[in-house]
Amino acid sequence: MENFLYGVLTNTGKGFFTAEDRRNFFLRGYPADVWVVGNNPKGALWIADKNGVFKTKSEAQALVTAEVEAAQAEYDALSDEEKNTRGERPSDITLP
């Protein structure tokens, strides 16, 4: 069994995930509204309750990569002075 579930969910703000959720299952957000949760009943129920769209790992990775590449292109287009305020170029992200 895979360790994680993948979904696309819009963060609706307060209550989107609670401290109790965080204690109950692994949960991590990524660019492109991709969320990775522990593959257990509580994690799966959280995605379903929030009207999330389940994705395969490769589908989720493609969404994240596309957003990161867009951010990298935007960063590359900045002047050297403007890059100073943002720290390093956005890094590639590999989903767990």
Partner: protein, 325 residues
Amino acid sequence: MSTYENLHGRRVNVVSSNPSNPKDGEVWYNSSLGELKGYVLGTAAWSAGGAAPDALASSMMAGNKDDAMKWGGDTGSSYPGWPTTSSSYNGTSWTSDGTIPTAVAASGQGGAGHTDATMWGGYRPSPNAATINKTNEFNGSSWTAGGDLNDNREYAYATGAGPQTACIAIGSGPGNSAEHENYNGTAWSEETDFPSGSNFVGTVGSQTATLGVSGSNGTTATWNGSAWTASPNTMNTPRSYGAAGGADSSEAYVFGGGSGPAKNLTELYNGTSWSAQPNMANARNSTGGSGIQSNGLIAGSIYPGNTAIEEFTAATVEVKTLTVS
């Protein structure tokens, strides 16, 4: 092996409902629920806060998760076009508030909430004379000019602490400054330099009990109002571009940060050493977060832009079901 009876002088009570005023560490068996219960330290966690009104990086914040102020920041695109907006947070949602005098990102920040916020220095593309040594104060209705800094602080990266009449500014870039100065609501005064320079010196506490931590190398030191005392222990994962908050120099947090890959790490300094705390859900750098008590942390902006806010619930003693695993 010791037993509960040896430790507490009595056996575990069997009760039909949980006691109304349990003592720290007390354990009982709830016969109605068929569960062993204890009044023990719970687990800290981050949860989602009200979505920010804008998706800005390097915006600044003041206050706590139930009374916060957020202002400025950069859009991820070239300047001009950065906003001059500020917003206040009541623990649930954000309300548009005063206009900051100059669009700026990554300035220093201090304050107790939406009626007490202070910004100093900060970055905007050349010419930057309008921000680099300037102070502005918010009183709940408008931003007004305060006293000029003694030191230019271009990349303060949302560090700083203290209420409007007692702010603390340490470090900034470029050049990994270690300059330290304090504000009395009118003028800044030079103080002894922090032991290690950085363009991010996480700052927590008051002018007589300050915790400073260098993002560059994790150097940690406390200020008692007249001198720095370096801690033998450095932050576990040194990182700039994060946020800092907490009660004082013996209960201070650094959360997020990191150049290149952003991090979701949270670390707590207890006056002696740093320890890992529960991670945030989102990795964040260029984070304008704040918090003036351990249970009040609020994490703001993410680069690239994102409106996700997170709030920290510190570990407290609570009734828990005890299980064996």
